[in-house]
C-alpha cells in the first residue's frame, strides 16, 4: 500500500518552495536535484538563500544564473573537471550575488549543530584565515576546558537550519523512506532542515526499514515532506551507480554560459521551453 499523501510531481515540489526560502543542496557528486532545479527556474522562484553542502556544482550554477538566488553560503562552486562556474563567477564579480565564503568542515559542523538542535558548534582550524574576518556570524572563544592560562582559541559556528533541503536520491520505498546508500550528508541535511523535498529515480514496492542492510542507508519518511519520481533526475550531472556525468553537455554549457546571451540560449533550450527530459 503506497502512502499517496507523500508522493507528488516535480512541478508540485517546486511550487512548495517560496521566494526567499533558505534552501540546502548537496554537492553534485552526492545527488544533484537537477529536474527540481529546472522546475524551480520555470516557476520563477526569487531571492533564495542557497546553502551548498558543503560545495556547489551545476545545480547552484543554474539557479544563480537564472536569477533565483539572492545570497549563497558555500565552500566553493565549480563545475568539477569542466572548470569554473561562469554564471556564479559573473554574479560575484558584478556584486549581484551576496556570498558567505565558508570551508567544508564548517558547513558540515554547523549543519550538525542544526541536526542536534543546539545553537552552535566549535571547530578546529580556520583561525587566521580571511574567511573569519569576512564573516560577522562566526565568533572566537577560548576553550573553556583548557588548562588555565592556555587560551586555546576556537571558532564557533552558528547552527545551519535550512527551511528546505532539496534532495535527489536513488530510491524511495512505498512508505516514503529514502535510500541514500553512503551519501550520509543527505541524512544530515534532512535532519537539520524544517522540510525535505525529494526526487528519486524510482519508487519501489519495498520497505527499506525492514532489513538492516538497507535501513542503515535510509532517511526515514518522518523527515520527508514530499517525494516525486524523476527518472534521470540528476542529468546532466551523474548519479553514482546509475549513470555517468554528461561531460560533453557540461563542457558545452561551460563554454556557452560565459556570455549572457549564451546562458539565455541554454535556459531556452534546456530549461524553459523544452520538455524536461534528457535530450538525446
Amino acid at each position: 500500500m503506497v502512502d499517496h499523501s507523500l508522493f507528488t510531481s516535480v512541478e508540485e515540489l517546486a511550487a512548495r518552495v517560496p521566494d526567499g526560502a533558505k534552501i540546502a543542496i548537496v554537492k553534485d557528486e552526492s545527488g544533484a536535484p537537477m529536474k527540481m532545479v529546472r522546475a524551480l527556474i520555470r516557476r520563477g522562484v526569487r531571492d533564495l538563500h542557497l546553502i551548498t553542502i558543503p560545495t556547489g556544482g551545476f545545480s547552484a550554477e543554474l539557479l544563480i544564473g537564472a536569477g533565483c538566488v539572492g545570497s549563497v553560503e558555500t565552500s566553493g562552486i565549480s563545475l568539477g573537471e569542466v572548470g569554473g562556474a561562469p554564471q556564479f563567477t559573473d554574479a560575484i564579480k558584478s556584486g549581484r550575488l551576496a556570498i558567505k565564503d565558508a570551508t567544508c568542515p564548517a558547513v558540515y559542523s554547523a549543519l550538525q549543530a542544526g541536526e542536534k538542535g543546539i545553537p552552535f558548534m566549535p571547530i578546529r582550524g580556520v583561525l587566521g584565515a580571511d574567511l573569519v574576518s569576512k564573516r560577522d556570524d562566526w565568533k572566537i572563544i577560548d576553550n573553556p576546558y583548557a588548562e588555565q592560562g592556555d587560551g586555546d582559541p576556537l571558532l564557533l559556528l552558528p547552527a545551519i537550519k535550512p527551511d528546505i533541503a532539496l534532495i535527489h536520491a536513488r530510491k524511495a520505498d512505498k512508505n516514503g523512506n529514502i535510500w541514500i546508500g553512503r551519501e550520509h550528508e543527505l541524512a544530515t541535511m534532512a535532519h537539520a532542515s524544517k522540510q525535505t523535498l525529494v526526487t528519486v529515480e524510482e519508487i519501489v514496492d519495498e520497505d527499506f526499514l525492514k532489513e538492516d542492510v538497507t535501513a542503515a542507508g535510509t532517511i526515514a519518511s518522518f523527515y520527508i515532506s514530499a517525494i516525486a519520481e524523476a527518472k534521470e533526475g540528476a542529468w546532466p550531472v551523474g548519479l553514482t551507480n546509475n549513470y555517468a556525468r554528461d561531460d560533453a553537455h557540461l563542457a558545452d554549457y561551460a563554454r556557452d554560459a560565459r556570455s549572457a546571451e549564451g546562458f539565455a540560449r541554454y535556459l531556452e533550450n534546456h530549461v524553459l521551453t523544452a520538455s524536461d527530459r534528457k535530450v538525446a
Binding site: 556564479f88 565564503d101 570551508t103 568542515p105 583561525l127 580571511d130 550520509h184
Partner: protein, 240 residues
C-alpha cells in the same frame, strides 16, 4: 627516457608520500590522485588512499564529513592543496584576486583548505602553473594561512611546493620556501624570473629526479586505469 610532464609530476609528488599510512585527495586533483595511487601500488596496497568523489578509493561510510573528523583526530597523514595564488609564507588563496568580495577574478572557493592545512601533518602544495601571477609576494585573500601563532592549535602545515618547473621545501620556523630542485628543461634563472615571492637558493641546486621505466609502466598501466574512474577527462587527455 621519454615521459610526459604529468608523469614527471605524478612521480615527484609520490616521492613525498613514501610510507605515509593514510593519504587523502581533494577535488580537482588528478595528479595528486595519481601520485597517491602510485604510492599505494609501491606498498602493495597497504597505503590507505581516499579520494573525494571516488567510488573505488573511498572508505568513508559517513559521507564526506567523516574525512574532516578523521583529519581533526590525526588519522590522515597527507593532503594536497593548491591555490589561485600562493605567497612566500605559504598562504594560499582559493577565493579570488582583487578586492573581496567583488573580486576581479573569482575562483571556486576555499573548500576544506582552512581546516586541513592546520590538521594534516604533511600538506603538499601543488600547482602546475609556475608564474608571477600565481606565486605572488602576498595573496589577496587568505583562504588558509601557511603558519599560525603558537597559541593556535596547529599540528599540520606545508611540507613542500611542486610546480611545472621546480620543487621547493618549506621551513615552518622561518616561514619561507627553499628551492630544492629544478625540473629537466629549466634553470634556476627560469625559476627566479617566474616566481613572484622571495625564496632561499642553496649554492647547489640539482635537477629534479625523473621516473624510471618501472615507474612509468605502473603510471601508464594500473594508475591510468584507476584515475580514469574519477578524472575521465584528464585520463583521456593524458593516456588516450
Amino acid at each position: 627516457m621519454d615521459f610526459r610532464r604529468e608523469e614527471l609530476l605524478i612521480y615527484l609528488v609520490a616521492r613525498h608520500l613514501e610510507n605515509l599510512g593514510h593519504i587523502c585527495v581533494g577535488v580537482s586533483s588528478p595528479i595528486p590522485g595519481a601520485a597517491a595511487q602510485l604510492e599505494k601500488a609501491r606498498t602493495g596496497g597497504r597505503t590507505v588512499v581516499n579520494i573525494i568523489g571516488s567510488r573505488d578509493n573511498n572508505a568513508f561510510t559517513s559521507g564526506a564529513q567523516e574525512m574532516f573528523d578523521a583529519a581533526a583526530q590525526g588519522r590522515i597523514d597527507a593532503f594536497f592543496l593548491g591555490g589561485g595564488q600562493i605567497d612566500g609564507q605559504a598562504n594560499i588563496n582559493l577565493v579570488g584576486a582583487g578586492e573581496y568580495p567583488t573580486v576581479d577574478v573569482r575562483w571556486p572557493g576555499s573548500f576544506g583548505s582552512a581546516f586541513l592545512y592546520y590538521l594534516v601533518p604533511n600538506v603538499i602544495l601543488f600547482r602546475e602553473e609556475h608564474s608571477q601571477r600565481v606565486l605572488v609576494p602576498k595573496v589577496d585573500f587568505i583562504s588558509a594561512p601557511g603558519g599560525s601563532p603558537p597559541e593556535h592549535y596547529r599540528v599540520g602545515g606545508p611540507k613542500c611546493l611542486i610546480t611545472n618547473m621546480a620543487e621547493f621545501d618549506f621551513d615552518r620556523d622561518k616561514r619561507n620556501f627553499r628551492l630544492v630542485s629544478v625540473h629537466p628543461g629549466y634553470t634556476v634563472d627560469d625559476i627566479l624570473e617566474n616566481t613572484g615571492f622571495e625564496f632561499e637558493i642553496p649554492s647547489d641546486v640539482p635537477q629534479s629526479p625523473v621516473p624510471d621505466a618501472e615507474t612509468l609502466t605502473l603510471i601508464r598501466g594500473p594508475i591510468a586505469e584507476g584515475i580514469a574512474e574519477i578524472y575521465p577527462v584528464f585520463a583521456k587527455k593524458l593516456f588516450g
